[in-house]
């Protein structure tokens, strides 16, 4: 049994098949990339899997539990966490507050109406550790609205780390980040727990080929290939649909 399994997932918007009979499975420790041209249905797939859109057909399973009809929140509790293609953070709060809140949420203490997280040593220690791994310590108490975009992307990963999921869906974690800073994102991903299953959507093929053990290619809402990076690069159908000159 896979840790995370999507079976025959389908979704139509009007007459358009945006996700067509897609099946993907992940085991603990998997590092899988989901690639495809713009409009292939990658983000729709993430929204379907995380419960932000209801599928027309198909099943989503996490650790043997059918979560297809559960709310996005319930899926997080089941161990499925996502990041967003466009950064979604709390602009008036600091990176420290973001990470601490995610830790408190994981610990079931986020609704405590008394006490200050800064007076909770276990929360502070873990927050400091995560911010340290992401090199965000120097800006730990700055407003997020004032920090660099690359640092915001790192903080998105930090939130996922703090929630300690079983499965992590990363929607273009390096989108909008200068290529010189992509290495920081890669380093952060290298520090993710080894037993965590990661499915990453990404357009930067160098990044994808360095990161992924397996690459799934989506075109027009359908999986057209599933294999190792080398197999993907050599496949004529994928080259035709997506990679183009990159494979040469």
């Amino acid at each position: 049994m896979s840790l995370f399994e999507v079976r025959n997932l389908s979704k139509k918007f009007g007459g358009l098949n945006v996700t067509n009979d897609v099946s993907i499975s992940l085991n603990p420790g998997d590092r899988i990339a989901l690639i495809g041209p713009n409009g292939a249905g990658k983000t729709t797939f993430v929204n379907l899997v995380t419960g932000h859109i209801r599928p027309d057909a198909g099943v989503v399973m996490i650790a043997g539990q059918d979560v297809t009809r559960l709310s996005p929140r319930a899926r997080v509790h089941a161990g499925l966490v996502r990041s967003f293609q466009v950064t979604r953070l709390f602009p008036e709060m600091s990176p420290e507050e973001h990470v601490a809140m995610a830790i408190l949420q994981r610990m079931g203490k986020v609704e405590k109406a008394f006490g200050d997280y800064r007076s909770m040593p276990e929360v502070m220690a873990e927050t400091a550790e995560i911010l340290g791994i992401l090199n965000l310590t120097p800006i730990a108490r700055s407003r997020v609205s004032g920090i660099a975009y690359g640092q915001q992307r790192l903080l998105e990963i930090g939130l996922a780390m703090a929630l300690r999921p079983k499965v992590l869906l990363l929607d273009e974690p390096a989108a909008g980040v200068p290529s010189s800073d992509t290495v920081l994102i890669e380093r952060a991903l290298d520090r993710l727990p080894p037993d965590l299953a990661v499915l990453m959507i990404e357009h930067d093929m160098d990044f994808v080929f360095r990161f992924a053990q397996r690459v799934v290619v989506l075109a027009a809402g359908t999986v057209i290939f599933d294999g190792t990076p080398a197999q993907v690069a050599a496949d004529p159908q994928v080259r035709e649909a997506y990679l183009g000159s990159y494979a040469e």
């Binding site: 979604r88 408190l104 986020v110 609704e111 008394f114």
Partner: protein, 331 residues
């Protein structure tokens, strides 16, 4: 210094700043008591409305919920305390305050179930519908509420059996000051707590909060209940102090004015709510006595000036100065 010792210092620092703020409020209260002996009724009213504005700050300033119907919770507290005294003979002022607080919390819970279903403009319309329904209900059930004549016959017994509610309003005033200090200390704890942080996060991005697995809707419902309790306490205080409850306690005008006071002082800031209320009512009182014909125009000019030149309110000016000359960073 060990981590434990360091974090304890942070906690102590927070408590110390709250106690200093309480001392400051207490000092101002003492000065006002001696400086304005004939204005104690006005000061008590300011504190009652301050509790309403603080309660709006919880849901609007911190939680981002648009409401123009919050006086429904204030009125629920006022009528509950008044009916308890006038119809059931419950005249102990502390018991009346407790009844008002509970009534406000219940009204907060019920109205949140309606208001939080909407977003933006629809939320605002729902909140207006709530205050209109509440007012109409109070008008219709005149046997209990006195209808448009108001609910009279409220005669609170001496506070703790010792202090009578005198004509000059001394007992009401000190009761109001103590209630304000207690509420302020509790709310400071709440807004600094993980729950308070979660509410602030919901205002900024509810989808992100949901993606972290935290509850959005029920968190706001809880904040609404807390807010209702504070507004209800304000209403009950008003009933105890004035010994009458009228339909104006359930008016759209009071709701809207309270929001204006909050914007004037600065949202998501407990001091802002208190300063905004004081400045607005004091200014309104002053201008209306100086110029009874054009005072509304002058109040309007003040508001336009503040909104245009200090959109974050009076406390926002202080924050800007602190960011400019002091150390920056997240609040």
């Amino acid at each position: 210094m060990s981590n434990d010792a360091k974090t304890m210092t942070i906690w102590q620092r927070g408590l110390r700043s709250d106690l200093i703020a309480c001392l400051l409020i207490g000092l101002i209260a003492v000065i006002c008591f001696y400086a304005m002996p004939s204005g104690l009724s006005l000061l008590t009213r300011i504190i009652a409305i301050m509790l309403l504005v603080l309660s709006i700050d919880l849901v609007t300033g911190y939680g981002g919920v648009a409401t123009l119907g919050h006086a429904a919770l204030f009125g629920a507290g006022a009528y509950a305390a008044g009916i308890a005294a006038a119809k059931f003979g419950i005249t102990d002022p502390l018991l009346m305050l407790l009844i008002g607080t509970i009534a406000g919390a219940i009204a907060g819970f019920l109205s949140s179930l309606v208001i939080l279903r909407g977003h933006g403009l629809s939320q605002l319309v729902l909140s207006i519908a709530v205050i209109m329904l509440a007012r109409e209900a109070a008008n219709k059930f005149s046997t209990w509420t006195g209808g448009s004549d108001g609910l009279s016959g409220i005669a609170p017994s001496p506070l703790l059996g010792m202090w009578r509610f005198d004509l000059w309003g001394k007992t009401s005033y000190w009761l109001a000051v103590i209630l304000l200090l207690v509420v302020f200390l509790i709310l400071r704890q709440i807004v600094r707590s993980p729950f308070g942080m979660l509410v602030k996060a919901i205002r900024q991005d509810p989808i992100r909060v949901s993606a972290m697995g935290a509850p959005v809707y029920w968190t706001l419902v809880k904040m609404y209940v807390i807010s209702g309790a504070v507004a209800g306490l304000g209403g009950a205080l008003s009933a105890v102090a004035t010994k009458v409850v009228g339909l104006d306690a359930l008016s759209f005008e009071l709701s809207a004015e309270a929001v204006v006071m909050l914007v004037l002082g600065g949202t998501a800031n407990l001091f802002g709510a208190m300063i905004g209320t004081t400045v607005f009512i004091w200014f309104e009182h002053l201008v209306s006595s100086v110029n009874p014909f054009h005072w509304l125009t002058i109040v309007g000019v003040l508001l336009v000036t503040v909104v245009l030149f200090a959109p974050r309110g009076l406390t926002g000016i202080a924050d800007q100065l602190r960011d400019k000359f002091g150390k920056g960073g997240a609040k």
